[in-house]
Amino acid sequence: MSAMAARRPDPEPETRTPESFLEEIRDIINSGTLRGAREVAERGLALYPDHPELKRLHHELRPFEVRINPEGNIFDPLPNYEWLKKNMAAYIGKWVGLDRGELVLASDSFDEVHEALRGRDHRGTLIHHIIGF
């Protein structure tokens, strides 16, 4: 038997508060992962089953779903990429809305570009902010 298998988790000290569980979850998330966070919420709920924030986090940290969407495809994106490659130097700082390789609108405003593309077939459109980074 390995040392790992023989080790039993310590029972939660009775003095643990809901806030201590929330803080542990926050620390996990701030370390750049969600791994283990739901389990902490679960342990907290074992002691405080009606705590609203622990319940909410337990729900928010539920397993993530990935579904195939055969209807969600886009048209060939190359014309939009080609437009960007050829023209981006002239549009630094702008939001551009493209439709199958054609510029629909270049603007300082994301909302204007978003609006200008409304009603077009989304399979051919693209919004991009041309920034130097």
Binding site: G32, V66, R67, I68, N73, L126, I127, H129
Partner: protein, 122 residues
């Protein structure tokens, strides 16, 4: 010389048009530009407020959200999934698709020769 990057179009809930995002296996979360973020955050409650993220632009403070994202294919099947997205009004970089926040939930590969990004669920 321009830096080589893997950039893919993704569609977010509440923004119908695809936006481009840089695939970054070193980024923990997905990150979106503040104006895109604003559109998203309007309709969502944060998974966690007061989250810090260390970036090449320094430490940024924001909130984490659970967001429906579509990675659209031009051949084969597209995927609908939920990403963990960091939103901050202080972010000044482009959109990123991060590892913990999305990439580790799918299978993916890159063919640098043909500049193609392959992805799937199984």
């Amino acid at each position: 010389m321009a830096e080589a990057r893997i950039v893919i179009p993704v569609t977010l809930e509440s923004v119908e048009e695809p936006v481009l995002a840089v695939v970054d296996t070193a980024a923990p979360w997905c990150i979106f530009e503040p104006i895109v973020a604003k559109t998203l955050a309007r309709n969502l409650l944060p998974l966690q407020r007061h989250v810090s993220l260390s970036t090449r632009l320094g430490v940024i403070h924001g909130a984490l959200y659970r967001v429906a994202i579509r990675i659209a294919a031009d051949e084969g099947d597209s995927l609908n999934l939920e990403g963990t997205v960091f939103l901050s009004p202080d972010w000044r970089g482009p959109n990123f698709i991060g590892y913990q926040g999305l990439l580790q939930r799918i299978r993916f590969a890159v063919d640098p020769e043909t500049n193609l990004f392959y992805f799937g669920r199984d």
